[in-house]
């Protein structure tokens, strides 16, 4: 009787967790398995194993370009996000007038579909957009500056879309700092820059890095943005999709590329975690 009574709550808990697990398994885990298997099958076949898709992709010089491009875009936009978030959050934590509005503004890129943000940026930064109209006012700029479809332009797009991840964690870490610690540094003789450099930044670094992981991963797998604003530059996610765009769709080739992307992500994530654990000594 006693054992039964103890087992029941556990059973109930397991049952309650079942739907969540089912979804996780069915919509994430199993699809990943399918992709793995598919990546190892010859194109269009249901049987047989082959590594040709991996080999063919990795031996192309284009492959290296694609992977390099993806990394460059992700790393650059993550760094820009960190820099920008740091400044933004240091400003916002003094609660200037209207700071609530700006905190909300921080979230806007995450709430609207990436497509729309990209479209708006395309229009704004295009050769007829306001930014160029503004720049043309200056005498030393004779022609519209090409921002769209360039790598710096793409980095700008990525940063616009993905900096909220970093900003939110940075802000919350910053606000949880004990003000007495800054006052202690103050009294000890440190001016504002020294307090920032020696006390504030080291203490919020874990928060910044945690948020920047999300930014990096989102940028690494960015799909809708480069799809419409990448021009001739195609990072990994777009490469994957392009394989399916063929007729007949090249599922195996796409799967192979997806696995490579997943692997790279895991590798990078592990390295990042290692780096994160060290300062927390």
């Amino acid at each position: 009787m006693k054992r039964g009574a103890k087992a029941r709550p556990v059973l109930v808990t397991l049952l309650m967790l079942l739907p969540g697990w089912a979804i996780f398994f069915g919509l994430f885990f199993y699809p990943m398995m399918v992709t793995v298997v598919r990546s190892l099958r010859p194109e269009g076949e249901q049987v047989g194993w082959t590594l040709e898709h991996y080999v063919r992709f990795l031996s192309e010089p284009r492959a290296r370009d694609v992977i390099l491009l993806t990394f460059v875009l992700s790393v650059a936009s993550t760094l820009c996000s960190i820099a920008f978030s740091l400044v933004l959050c240091l400003v916002l934590r003094r609660k200037p007038r209207g700071h609530r509005f700006f905190r909300l503004t921080m979230l806007v890129p995450r709430v609207v579909p990436g497509l729309i943000g990209a479209l708006g940026l395309l229009l704004l930064l295009g050769s007829r957009g306001w930014v160029n109209l503004f720049l043309l006012q200056f005498p030393f700029i004779r022609e519209p500056v090409q921002i769209n479809y360039t790598i710096p332009g793409l980095i700008l797009f990525y940063t616009w879309l993905y900096f909220p991840f970093t900003a939110v964690t940075t802000l919350s870490t910053l606000e949880s700092l004990d003000p007495a610690i800054e006052e202690a540094a103050d009294v000890a003789g440190a001016n504002r820059w020294q307090v920032l450099r020696h006390v504030i930044v080291p203490l919020i670094m874990p928060g910044i890095l945690a948020g920047s992981i999300l930014t990096f991963m989102a940028a690494f797998g960015a799909f809708s943005i480069p799809l419409i604003a990448g021009g001739n530059y195609r990072p990994l996610a777009v490469e994957i999709y392009r394989q399916i765009d063929f007729t007949p769709a090249r599922w195996s080739a796409a799967s192979a590329r997806a696995m490579i992307m997943a692997l790279l992500q895991v590798i990078f994530l592990t390295i990042y975690m290692r780096v994160l654990r060290r300062p927390a000594a």
Binding site: G20, V34, R94, R110, V111, V168, P206, S224, S255, A258
Partner: protein, 278 residues
């Protein structure tokens, strides 16, 4: 003395000026793209290097409605979002209950696992989802597309609902029992009102997530289940900026409305991913 004080005050004011200029530029950087879209959607004859369109018109919206069948598309989007919300909530409630009210070993790890589909870009597993759906004939069905959305909606729902259930104080239930309520009445009169805000909050999140979802839809849609994001993408490909802008405006308004409506009740971290420390 006063000169020094004035000088110091000027420095302080310069810092203030810099601060507000920075914030202004930040706000412009975020909101101008949307302004551009709106202007494009109502502009007529806007060629060449003009700041504003010479004429205003609603032609493009009319075009969107008539030619591109936007009403049907919106209907699709809403149906799919509705299905996704129902499914995600039905999954979120029991899972959230288990996480919130029961001690589970390795809860943090499990939570991170649940969030995995949101952290890993959808394109990675969308391929597999698409292939499975082809085999199950779920492609181009409202249910199929909604189901694929659940992959990214359910984590949100679980997150919000586990927080809701965690906040349900055991003692309130005990008090109800002491007052004489049997389990059924306790459920309806005490539990439901307490968890209703959380459920509503999760529904709102889930709805906007499904409404805006693009990548998964792109891989599971068909001609009967075109959603607003997908149609907007196709329109961008067609190159008519004006109509595309009109469609985008129609697409984005609900999200912005929802954001400003719920801003008071929600912690920003939840909206962004709920990732609590690495």
């Amino acid at each position: 003395m006063t000169l020094l004080r004035q000088y110091l005050r000027a420095i302080v004011n310069a810092r203030k000026l810099l601060t507000y200029t920075f914030l202004l530029c930040f706000a412009l950087a975020i909101y101008l793209p949307f302004l551009m879209i709106v202007l494009r959607s109502v502009g007529k004859g806007w060629f060449g290097k003009l700041w504003l369109p010479p004429q205003l018109t609603l032609d493009w919206y009319r075009w969107a409605v008539e030619v591109t069948n936007i009403v049907d598309i919106t209907k699709n989007t809403l149906i799919i979002a509705g299905l996704a919300v129902i499914m995600a909530t039905l999954i979120g409630i029991p899972t959230g209950w288990a996480f919130g009210r029961r001690r589970i070993p390795g809860k943090e790890l499990l939570m991170s696992t649940i969030l995995l589909p949101r952290m890993i870009p959808p394109i990675a597993y969308a391929l597999g989802v698409a292939q499975i759906f082809y085999r199950l004939h779920l492609i181009n069905t409202h249910f199929g597309v909604a189901l694929s959305h659940v992959a990214v909606c359910a984590p949100y729902a679980i997150l919000v609902l586990s927080a809701t259930f965690e906040g349900l104080d055991e003692r309130v239930l005990e008090a109800a029992a002491v007052c004489g309520a049997n389990p059924l009445r306790t459920f309806f009169h005490v539990i439901v009102p307490l968890i209703l805000p959380g459920i509503l909050s999760s529904m709102i999140f889930t709805f906007t997530t499904s409404y805006n979802e693009f990548t998964l839809t792109l891989l599971t849609y068909g001609k009967d289940t075109v959603t607003l994001p997908v149609r907007t993408y196709l329109a961008i490909g067609e190159g008519y900026w004006e109509v595309t802008s009109a469609m985008s405006v129609i697409l984005v308004i609900p999200s912005l409305i929802v954001l400003f409506l719920i801003q008071k009740q929600v912690a920003p971290e939840k909206l962004v991913g709920g990732f609590k420390g690495v």
